[in-house]
Structure formats: C-alpha cells, structure tokens
C-alpha cells in the first residue's frame, strides 16, 4: 500500500501573521512549521502502514525552505518526501495549487492520498476536492475514522447533522478531521534517521506543469484590497453582584435581539 500525504509549510503559530501590502500575499519570511492538522494525516498514514505494510510519501508544494518542515514528518516515520518548489508557483490560488499537487501525485502513483483539515494560513478547507477532481478519484472528506480493507476504504464523515459512513474503492483521496487521532511525537531515533531519508525537490517542469498555469499568472482569483476589520466598539466588563443576568437581558432587549 503506497500512501501519499499532502502537507504544507505554514508560518509558525507563534509568528504574528501579516499580509505583505506590496504583493498582497501572506508574509512567509518568518519561522515556519508544518500545518498542525496535517500531522493528523501523517499519523493516520503511519498507522495504516504499520498495520499492513507499505510506504508513506510526503508530497508538498512550497518554497525550498519547506524541506525543514518536511523533516518533522519524516522524523515521525514517513519514508520519503517530494517537494515541488518553483518560484513560478508562488502566489498560486486553489486552481494552480491543485494542478501542481495533482501532477506531483500522479508521479507518486499512490493507492491512497491523504490530506489534513483546514490549513492554518489560508483557512481554506477545500483543496482536496479540487485535487480529487483533477485525479478523477473518489473523495471522502471530514473523516473522523478510517478503515482500509483490501482495495476499499470506509470513512466516517462528520457532517452538520451527524455522521455519514462512506465507502470508496482505491485509489482514492481522503481528507481527515483532526478528531481522527492524536499525532505521535518523533522519537530521538526518528529525528536522527530523518536526516538520511530521501528528499526529492522538483520544479514545475519536472512534473509537466506549465508555469503559466500556476502562480499569480494561473490564478482565477485576486486580492483587490486589504483593510482592518470594523471595530467591535466598547467592551463592558462587570463583576456579578447578583444582577448580572438582569444586565445581560437588558442589553439583549436594548439591541432587539429577542
């Protein structure tokens, strides 16, 4: 069983995120880390591999320095990493990203492609569906538990109304929820071993994607303007002296919310 896990480098949680006013893109110059919810996808891939054997391949699109972040997932136990790093791909929107990622995945020829939940930088929880369509493979997203049996998978999908249990034949694309597992910490042995694991860096040309179809040139969406959000106004803070419930109701009535 070959499992590809799509992971992304994002600004570290401790970094104050800002949009560069000149490029209108997220400033990615500071400390970076793997998108936290991608670790759930790496963990799930490792559990499947441990149960049935196979290979776990990390696939990423990003700047060359993303290899540092990929090393953490290699230390967790992934076997190798493929990074598509190309200046021309910077600033890609959903379409360009999906195109490049799908092309890299075609090359890996995985039985199962895993994604984590929403990325912490772009907020968008939609990439997997675009990739699944490009690959023409079945998709199950928002999966809270996953079983693999022979050439089929079954995922329990969290919805607004409860759970849908969905089966699909392999090869398939699955996006896991962060409720699926608790990612492991890399062991010291894993960290040492990660340094010698194969890491391949590819250009867009290597994966057969025309540079004009990614990056800003290939984007079908654009940022027109940036502004600070409207202020919430004044905050009233009170200590409950037995009348707080009354004061809350007064505010609710004053604002005609009932």
């Amino acid at each position: 069983m070959k499992i590809a896990v799509c992971v992304k480098q994002v600004p570290d949680a401790t970094v104050h995120k800002r949009i560069d006013p000149a490029t209108k893109r997220l400033d990615r110059s500071g400390e970076a880390a793997l998108n936290p919810t991608d670790l759930n996808a790496v963990e799930e891939a490792l559990r499947i591999k441990e149960a049935q054997g196979g290979e776990v391949v990390l696939v990423s699109l990003g700047p060359e320095k993303a290899v540092d972040s990929l090393r953490k997932a290699l230390a967790m136990g992934a076997d190798r990493a493929v990074l598509v790093a190309d200046e021309a791909a910077a600033g890609s929107d959903l379409l360009g990203t999906a195109r490049a990622l799908a092309a890299a995945l075609e090359r890996v020829e995985a039985d199962l492609v895993l994604f984590g939940q929403a990325s912490s930088d772009g907020d968008g929880a939609v990439l997997w569906a675009a990739v699944a369509d490009r690959l023409r493979r079945p998709l199950i997203s928002q999966v809270a538990s996953l079983t693999v049996e022979g050439s089929s998978i079954t995922g329990k999908r969290q919805t607004e109304h409860g759970y849908d249990v969905i089966s699909a034949s392999l090869p398939a694309v699955v996006a896991v929820s962060d409720a699926i597992n608790e990612p492991r910490y890399p062991s010291l042995k894993g960290i040492m071993g990660a340094k010698t694991k194969p890491q391949e860096t590819l250009s867009l040309a290597d994966i057969g994607v025309d540079a004009s179809e990614t990056g800003e040139a290939g984007s079908k969406t654009m940022v027109l303007d940036l502004a600070p959000p409207p202020s919430r106004g004044d905050q009233v803070k009170i200590e409950d002296d037995g009348n707080a419930a009354r004061q809350i109701l007064d505010l609710i009535l004053e604002r005609r919310l009932l």
Binding site: A129, Q158, E160, H161, V165, A179, L224
Partner: protein, 318 residues
C-alpha cells in the same frame, strides 16, 4: 449578474444558509437556484419565495446520497447549459467539496469564507476576513463562472413572495463519481435550530466543569429560541457532539447573539465566532481573553447566572 445558487436541503427543508445566499444573489441581479436529489422539483419550487427567478432540479438516483462528486457533474452540466456568470454556495461540509471540485472541473476561480458580496463597477466583489479575522480582504475573480462559498449566517433569507418555474435537467455522471457510496447515515438528535441556522447561540467550554452543565445551556437556548454550541476542548472530551463545535476545526458561525459560558476565548475558538453581532461572555476568570472581544463580559459563576438569565427570559416572554 446572473447567479446560480446551490440550494442544499436536509430532508424536505431547504437550508436557511442557502436561502440567505439566494436572497442576496437576487438583490444583486438575477438569481436561479438548483436543487439536487429525490424530490428536487417539489423542494425547488419553494425557492421562488426567496428570490429565485427559476429553479433547476435533477432527481437522479445518483444524487440520493449527500456525496459531492455527482453534484459536481450536475453543476458542471448546468453551468454549461445556462451560461451563468457566478455559482454561489452557503458553506457546509458538502458544499465546500462541491465548490472546489467544480472549480477544478471548470478551471474557474473560487473564493471562500465570504461575508459579503457586492457589484462594484459591474464586477462581483467579495469580502473575506482573513488571518483570524484580523484583516478584511476584498476579493475578485478573473474570467467566469465566478465561484463563491459564503460563510454561514452571512445573509438572512428574505421572503419576497414570488414563485419559481421549475425546470428538470439531465446529468451524465462521470465514471469516478460513482466510486464513493453511502453505507450508513447517523443523525444526531437535536431540537431547535442547528448552529448554522440559529440567530442566537449559547456556547459552553471547559468552564462548565462537567458535561451535565450543558443542560443549563440547553434550557437557556430553548428559552431564547437558539442553539447550543461547544468549544473543541469539550467536544474532544466527549461532552458534546462535534456537529456543534465552533472554531478553527469546527464551524464558523455569525449569529446575531452569542453567549459564551465558561469559554476562555482562545484564538482557535475566536476565529469561529467573532463575526457574531453581539457577544456576551460569562467566565469566572477575569483575565480570560474573551473579555477583550465581547460586548458585555461578566466575571462570575455561570452556574448561578445562566439559570437566572433563563428564568428572566422566560418571564419576559410570558
């Protein structure tokens, strides 16, 4: 602008979020709706009273289960047939997958998490809060159709009283669309509105102290006609179902009133609810971050305050 709005339904009911997007689209130009699945025609006919000039319906068996990929086939067919300028969706687990799949299929731009839409100089422009709602971004599209996912609660449905002509259409499904199948469906029992649809949300976090304390919130929500939501911490602890989780890895909601009880207001939760109209916070920790972004913050014991508030609301409503 001529927009196609994906009208999601649960049972025979059209989702409130979809109807809100439909009403908004109708205010910007011509809006047509689409309903997919068994009974689509009958359900679609109701879209007229929320501004749809027309409703397209396909009740093919392949659309019976709530799976995204056959719906991408259906919408791609309809975009080609109608030549609409935009396709708009109210965000949901299902709609997000359909929108992104359709974007890839049509090579069309998709903007998501939109909180407003406008026509500026003849072009569709969306507003999208980014980076934990610290920046408000104006987004646009190149080419057409222009695809947009609207944040839940952004637009209220407006009853216009019109009627929509329903037109049935056929879909040729992709071979790979049939490779995922629904095996089983579990509906969580709930009374009252869902958190996506509710104008009033009463939410609980770790400060509740125990899962049993959620009954206090349920009583308050029932008195207010609202829904109960939860933080990730208490959902992870198994106190309350995932479908009620608000925050980065749960739902983003923007009710008119949000009452947070025993919620500290960590950034992961904040991004899911700070779009609420009025925020009330009750927490015994005076240093809880939620006090920095609420309208009224009460430092006190929620176990005392919430039942009292419930009583006051009940007696006010008679």
């Amino acid at each position: 602008m001529r927009a196609l709005v994906f009208l999601e339904h649960h049972g025979a009911e059209l989702e409130k979020g979809s109807l809100g997007v439909l009403s908004k689209a109708a205010s910007l130009g011509e809006a047509v709706g689409v309903v997919l699945g068994p009974g689509a025609g009958e359900i679609g006919a109701r879209a007229g009273s929320f501004g749809a000039a027309k409703a397209y319906a396909c009740d093919a068996e392949a659309l019976a289960a709530p799976l995204p990929q056959p719906r991408v086939d259906a919408l791609a067919t309809l975009v080609e047939k109608t030549g609409v300028d935009a396709v708009l969706f109210a965000t949901s687990v299902l709609a997000a997958d359909i929108a992104a799949g359709l974007a890839a299929r049509l090579d069309a731009g998709l903007n998501w998490d939109l909180t407003d839409l406008a026509i500026v100089d003849g072009e569709l422009v969306g507003k999208r809060p980014a980076l934990g709602d610290t920046v408000l971004v104006d987004v646009g599209w190149k080419g057409s159709p222009q695809l947009g996912l609207v944040r839940s609660g952004a637009f209220d449905p407006v009853e216009s009283g019109g009627s929509a002509e329903v037109e049935a259409f056929d879909v040729t499904f992709s071979d790979f669309s049939a490779l995922a199948t629904l095996v089983e469906q579990t509906q969580e029992e709930s009374s009252g509105p869902s958190i996506e649809d509710a104008d009033i949300i009463v939410a609980g976090g770790r400060g509740l102290g125990s899962p049993e304390a959620f009954s206090l919130l349920e009583e308050l929500a029932a008195a207010l006609g609202g829904a109960v939501a939860a933080t990730r911490a208490v959902v992870d602890a198994g106190w309350y179902p995932y479908s009620t989780q608000v925050g980065q890895t749960g739902k983003t909601v923007s009710p008119k009133l949000y009452i947070g009880c025993g919620i500290s207001g960590a950034i992961q939760h904040k991004v899911g609810m700070q779009g609420a109209g009025t925020i009330v916070a009750i927490n015994k920790d005076p240093n809880a971050p939620i006090f920095d972004f609420c309208d009224i913050g009460v430092v006190g014991d929620l176990h005392q305050i919430v039942p009292k508030l419930t009583e006051l609301v009940r007696s006010h409503r008679g």
